[in-house]
């Protein structure tokens, strides 16, 4: 009777979901929204990574290869396998930022394709607020929660709570700590370490594998704070050991403050400073370039993370040597697409990276207009 009817409905829904074709979707910059995801080969974990020197990539193993080590996941609900169409998903991002606006757009595109009911909530960088939203989300018992953690370590408890409540959860964009992974179906997002390693090589070649570099860091706390500084440092340590790391500062995402730090470096290191690595390609890049221009040191090679409009323009103008291509829309889309696959009963990798590319003056045009 009724049960057969239900299963019938479910199977029908599943079929229609599997048939949905999203290969046509494009992000604002004309790129395909969901390209082939890039993979990453994972070395075996050293016994005590932290004991290794900071310039050794393995020192950061637990951060970089996070999530791969998880053997068995803890009480992950099994997929209903009844199709993604019509599912209710609540996504809780970490704050209001143009990148995350684009991120949400990408996510929405997928939601529309599968006519899912998607709500995106932003705690505006307030941890207490994010916890409240998580609880609220649990309270609404959606089919899936997607979370962009505010902080790697706090994420553990957050994800565990959702998991305890029996609501499936997927993590996105910001890397959490290892433990968090075992409570989540998967983590999707940019391979911060990886793409900075790639970019570091390009950088090193341009620098002639010598000289001195300094880093403007991301806001303390999140994974980028380490990835975007120690990614290149460790990479260069192997690829171009002659390049010396002069200093690293975290003036925040404030053009004027960054400008002054860079100016001060120029005074302090003079010609020894030949390269600067940035954790952000808008405010920080602006400040840096302005400082260099004022000091007449356009020769200093600057690399930065992310592909904001500001950053792209500066690559185009040759102010920035290179930036990472990190498609905000893909970032959001992949997260939800992973959920879709799970709803559709397909099995999903524990970690999925959005494709990483390095944008330089040559290829920058392909990525215009910028997503944010």
């Amino acid at each position: 009777g009724a049960r057969e009817a239900d299963t019938a409905v479910a199977e029908d829904n599943l079929e229609r979901s599997l048939e949905v074709d999203i290969s046509g979707l494009r992000s604002a910059d004309g790129q395909t929204l969901l390209p082939e995801l890039s993979s990453k080969e994972v070395p075996s974990r050293p016994d005590n990574p932290r004991s290794l020197p900071e310039t050794d990539p393995m020192h950061w193993y637990d951060m970089e290869y996070l999530g791969w080590g998880v053997e068995e996941k803890i009480n992950i609900p099994d997929s209903p396998a009844d199709g993604a169409i019509g599912k209710r998903v609540i996504a809780i991002i970490n704050g209001d930022h143009p990148y995350l606006t684009a991120y949400s757009t990408g996510m929405q595109k997928i939601a529309d394709a599968y006519s899912m009911d998607l709500t995106v909530l932003s705690p505006n960088w307030d941890l207490a607020e994010q916890n409240q939203m998580l609880d609220e989300a649990i309270n609404e018992r959606p089919d899936m929660i997607i979370l962009v953690p505010l902080d790697a370590r706090v994420a553990i408890q957050q994800v565990r709570r959702v998991n305890r409540a029996g609501v499936p959860i997927i993590l996105s964009n910001m890397l959490p700590e290892e433990e968090a992974m075992q409570y989540a179906i998967a983590w999707t997002g940019p391979d911060d370490w990886g793409q900075f390693r790639e970019m570091a090589r390009v950088w090193a070649d341009e620098l002639g594998r010598s000289g001195g570099v300094a880093y403007i860091r991301h806001a303390p706390g999140g994974s980028p704070y380490f990835a975007r500084t120690y990614g290149p440092i460790t990479e260069l340590a192997e690829y171009a050991p002659d390049i010396e790391t002069l200093d690293m500062q975290a003036p925040g995402f404030e053009a004027e403050a960054t400008m002054q730090v860079v100016s001060d470096w120029l005074t302090r290191f003079g010609d020894r400073l030949t390269g600067i690595g940035l954790a952000d390609d808008s405010a920080q890049a602006i400040g840096t370039i302005e400082a260099l221009r004022r000091a007449g040191r356009e020769d200093v090679l600057v690399i930065a993370a992310g592909n904001s409009k500001v950053g792209m323009d500066m690559v185009k103008d040759g102010d920035l040597l290179a930036i990472t291509y990190q498609s905000a829309e893909a970032d959001g889309a992949v997260a939800l697409k992973t959920a879709v696959d799970w709803f559709n009963g397909l099995d999903v990798d524990p970690v999925l990276y959005i494709p990483k590319q390095v944008i330089t003056q040559e290829n920058v045009e392909d990525f215009m207009p910028a997503q944010w």
Partner: protein, 352 residues
């Protein structure tokens, strides 16, 4: 009955009692206090210069000096305006950051009508916010801190709602008229190729506002208003107007700063200018403008701004990391202000 006693008391003029007392007053005030009261913050600036010279031989180079100044021009612009609010005895204007952001965004929006329109629009934002703050605080005597905080909330909320958290780009908005590039260059123009125009603008503002504070009818009346609101009111001074004007000036300079910041950052967004409120108070107060009101000068405030710039510069030159820098900054702030108000008290110049 003691008639003679009476006459004797009359002959002895208290004016004669006074001198010796005043003398030992002056004796008691030690040289350091005098030094501080005269040099104020420039005393600290001097020390930092010396340290700087010892740390790096390039410290005194024109380039470095320019970068020190260049790194705090926007802060300077905000501070010289905020000084008027503190000077008027109304602590601080917490709506500064939102004013900066709002004026920047509006300017960018207006770029389609040309660069001039953009700048005027930006300034208008400052004007309106300033008028509202000035009116509510000057006339209704609402608590300045709380009111400006409320203003900040409301404006920020509105901005984010209207522009739905997006940021807008001068190059895009101004593409049609080509004003976009001009706007972006506002911050980047250099006079004679070396001196950044922002520095020149700051200097101009500082000089003008210094005279406004010290030499204009308004400024003189504001001083009394700040030192004692009631006394000013009962001297026939139009206190609400003066206080209003103080907040207006503050908002206007914030607007100018906001335009420059937006021009520098090449984006208009609601989050621009965060942190400039407390930063400005810091500069103003270590610059010698006491929270009690009615004391201090723009020259001092500029000194305060320079000290902040020099401190960042010297500490980075010394290779102190960001975290340690925040600690030192906070400590220096308390210390500097403490010493100043203490020596003022020694000189009997302050009851606060």
């Amino acid at each position: 009955m003691s008639e003679d006693r009476g006459t004797e008391t009359l002959r002895e003029d208290p004016a004669e009692v006074a001198p010796n007392m005043n003398e030992d007053r002056t004796l008691r005030q030690n040289r350091f206090s005098v030094l501080i009261s005269v040099l104020g913050i420039y005393f600290l600036a001097g020390i930092l210069m010396i340290v700087g010279v010892m740390v790096s031989e390039r410290f005194l180079s024109a380039a470095n000096m320019l970068s020190v100044v260049g790194g705090v021009t926007i802060l300077g612009l905000v501070a010289v305006g905020a000084a008027f609010v503190t000077y008027s005895g109304h602590f601080a204007d917490l709506s500064i950051p939102t004013t900066m952001a709002f004026s920047g965004v509006m300017a960018v929006e207006a770029l389609q009508f040309g660069i001039v329109a953009a700048i005027i629009t930006g300034l208008l934002v400052g004007l309106v916010i300033g008028l509202i703050n000035g009116f509510v605080i000057g006339k209704f005597r609402a608590n300045p801190i709380v009111w400006t905080l409320a203003m900040a909330f409301v404006i920020r909320g509105l901005m984010r709602w209207i522009w739905s958290n997006r940021q807008i780009y001068p190059e895009v908005e101004g593409a049609a008229t080509g004003a976009g590039q001009h706007f972006v260059n506002l911050y980047r123009y250099h006079l004679l190729g070396v001196i950044p125009m922002t520095v020149v603008v700051l200097a101009a503002f500082a000089i003008v506002l210094h005279f406004v504070m010290k030499q204009s009818s308004f400024g003189r009346q504001l001083q009394i208003t700040g030192a004692s609101f009631e006394a000013a009111r009962l001297s026939g001074i139009n206190v609400s107007r003066n206080v209003g004007l103080a907040f207006l000036i503050c908002a206007m300079t914030a607007a100018v700063a906001g335009i420059f910041l937006t021009s520098l950052s090449r984006v208009g967004a609601y989050y621009m200018g965060e942190g400039y409120d407390f930063a400005a108070v810091t500069a103003v107060v270590i610059g010698g403008v006491t929270l009690a009101g009615g004391r201090g000068s723009i020259v001092g405030v500029i000194g305060g701004v320079l000290v902040i710039g020099l401190m960042r510069n010297v500490m980075t030159l010394m290779g102190i990391d960001t975290f340690a820098q925040t600690i030192v900054t906070g400590a220096v702030f308390i210390l500097a202000v403490g010493i100043q108000s203490n020596s003022l008290r020694r000189l009997g110049r302050d009851d606060a």
